[in-house]
């Protein structure tokens, strides 16, 4: 927790965190935050420009773009986050077991991962959706089923490297239990790695889910989703490009905020990077003083 306080000193991280928090809160309380009903059709307001009632204008069916963006946070961000959390948790458990115990456990779990990873991701997702039926839940389930193996692979190799280190050998030698070693030595050290790979895949997962919605396999028509909004705006891409701007920019801003935050988290969690950063700040301060001194002279 002490280390997390360092995040506060990083302005970009604070900005990213506030963007993510505001978006999340807006998504959870969408009915209270959104100015209009996102599914209410006003044919007379088709492609209307921004007005006080509809701050970001209206889409091809005259629906409020802002309200649709806000309602779209739920599937586009919150449910993707749930899917990510699930697949990272399964992947972490499998990765930790395989990387720490090695031997037969490792061989068995990794063969399972190999089997899953040997199918092309999109095709398997399509197949799972085909079995479970079209719908957003099937899409999320398909994502979790396909992604965990990838996380397990990466987390395993990171855990393996830490499990061989001398401090783990020492802990074993003085009689610490496997559980204690995992909790004290492996999880905290592997956590920055996990945070970085999961946040960087968060961005791509948002894009992929949008992609499936674009194909009509995710969220169904009247409901709002960023990828689908982008798709709907595609028809008027050249005559009214501003309609792509709203969902497009939202996706870009949210994904970048997540990536910046993950970088900041990595720095904050790693004592090595943390202190070198402090030193750097110290140096910068020192050189600033020098420059000022020169200015005076």
């Amino acid at each position: 927790m002490k280390r997390l306080q360092n995040v506060w000193k990083d302005k970009v991280a604070v900005l990213s965190l506030s963007i993510i928090t505001v978006t999340t809160v807006a998504g959870i309380f969408a009915p209270f935050v959104a100015p209009n009903d996102p599914e209410e059709v006003h044919m007379e307001l088709r492609f209307a420009s921004a007005s006080w009632e509809y701050l970001l204008g209206n889409d091809h069916l005259g629906r409020c773009v802002l309200s649709r963006l806000i309602y779209g946070i739920r599937p586009s961000m919150l449910w993707v986050f749930v899917a990510l959390l699930l697949s990272v948790s399964i992947g972490s458990i499998v990765g930790f077991l395989a990387g720490y115990f090695r031997g037969k456990t490792d061989a068995f779990l990794m063969r399972v991962c190999d089997v899953i990873l040997s199918f092309p991701g999109y095709v398997m997702t399509l197949a799972i959706i085909g079995i479970l039926g079209v719908g957003f839940e099937s899409l999320i389930i398909a994502f979790v089923l396909m992604k965990w193996a990838w996380f397990a692979r990466i987390i395993r190799s990171s855990v393996m490297q830490y499990a061989e280190s001398d401090y783990v050998k020492f802990a074993k030698a003085i009689g610490a239990s496997n559980m204690a070693i995992m909790i004290r030595h492996i999880v905290p050290v592997a956590l920055p790695d996990i945070a970085v790979i999961s946040s960087s895949s968060f961005g791509s997962m948002i894009l992929q889910i949008s992609g499936f919605s674009f194909l009509g396999l995710g969220i169904q028509a009247p409901e709002a989703e960023w990828g689908m909004m982008l798709n709907e705006a595609r028809d008027v891409m050249f005559s009214r490009p501003e309609f792509m701007l709203a969902p497009g920019l939202t996706i870009v801003i949210v994904v970048s905020a997540i990536n910046y935050l993950s970088d900041a988290l990595q720095v904050a969690l790693d004592p090595k990077l943390m202190t070198s950063k402090h030193k750097q700040q110290g140096l910068e301060a020192a050189s600033a003083v020098k420059l000022e001194g020169k200015g005076v002279a």
């Binding site: 037969k104 280190s165 401090y167 020492f170 030698a173 003085i174 610490a176 004592p271 202190t275």
Partner: protein, 248 residues
């Protein structure tokens, strides 16, 4: 008898999981180590010294044979807690990078169910013993030099006053003068705490300086065990050759 090792064998699988071929790393190893004794284990690179060390620490199990610590199986971690400790070669990974010096030394103390306050108060003294001042408590391992890390590891190893400490090439990565300081330190600590050492090294001089007995390992077999005083008149030709290389 503190440690008694009886006809221990260890082999590792060569190649993949399904390959039958095995590499015999240790063959029929038997020896004993008395309470408070310092036993040196020397041998060429790849002779199986570190493997034997891991078996003695109970980190890995032997394929055959038994290793008893005070008559109980060393694989049982309850037997080891507080009685056995270790210092390893690689100072870049011997302390958890997320731990301060204080937290690192606290780990074995808390394993022994010592109260936190009591354990914290001991740290200054332990650091003093290894020649570091209390200002090191809040430092992270990457802020220390190799020699300082090894000192912290030694402080961590002696903290529970174990009956035996295993050093696996613990001083090999340090430069000459620091090696000498650490050896001196180990000698003094041994007198003070009445501990036994198992000192794995490929440096015969260091072994001769600190050990009571020296075991020579060659291709996973014990070539010879000699008292340090009788190092001059060793039996086997291999040991003679090893010694000659040093003298030359």
């Amino acid at each position: 008898m503190l440690l008694s090792v009886e006809s221990v064998e260890k082999s590792y699988r060569k190649g993949g999981l399904f390959s039958k071929e095995r590499e015999h790393v240790l063959k029929n190893i038997s020896f004993e180590c008395k309470l408070g004794e310092c036993l040196g284990i020397i041998g060429e690179s790849g002779s199986g010294k570190s493997t034997l060390g891991r078996l003695l620490l109970g980190i890995e199990k032997p394929d055959r044979g038994s290793i008893l610590f005070e008559g109980k199986k060393v694989e049982d971690r309850k037997v080891r807690t507080g009685n056995l400790s270790a210092v390893f070669q690689d100072y870049t990974s011997s302390i958890n990078p997320f731990y301060t010096v204080e937290e690192a030394i606290l780990e074995p103390l808390q394993m022994k169910r010592k109260a936190r306050e009591e354990a914290l108060s001991e740290i200054d003294h332990l650091l003093y013993q290894v020649g570091l001042d209390p200002s090191y408590r809040k430092k992270y391992p990457h802020e220390l030099s190799g020699g300082e890390v090894q000192r912290v590891c030694i402080a961590r190893a002696v903290s529970t006053e174990p009956k035996c400490i295993l050093f696996d090439e613990a001083i090999s990565s340090l430069d000459g003068s620091v090696q000498m300081q650490v050896l001196e330190l180990l000698k003094n600590l041994r007198k003070r705490y009445d501990m036994g050492y198992i000192f794995i090294t490929h440096d015969i001089q260091a072994a001769a300086y600190i050990c009571d007995r020296i075991m020579v390992l060659r291709n996973g077999e014990i070539e010879e065990i000699v008292e340090v005083e009788q190092l001059k008149d060793v039996q086997s030709t291999y040991t003679k050759k090893l010694l000659q290389m040093i003298i030359a």
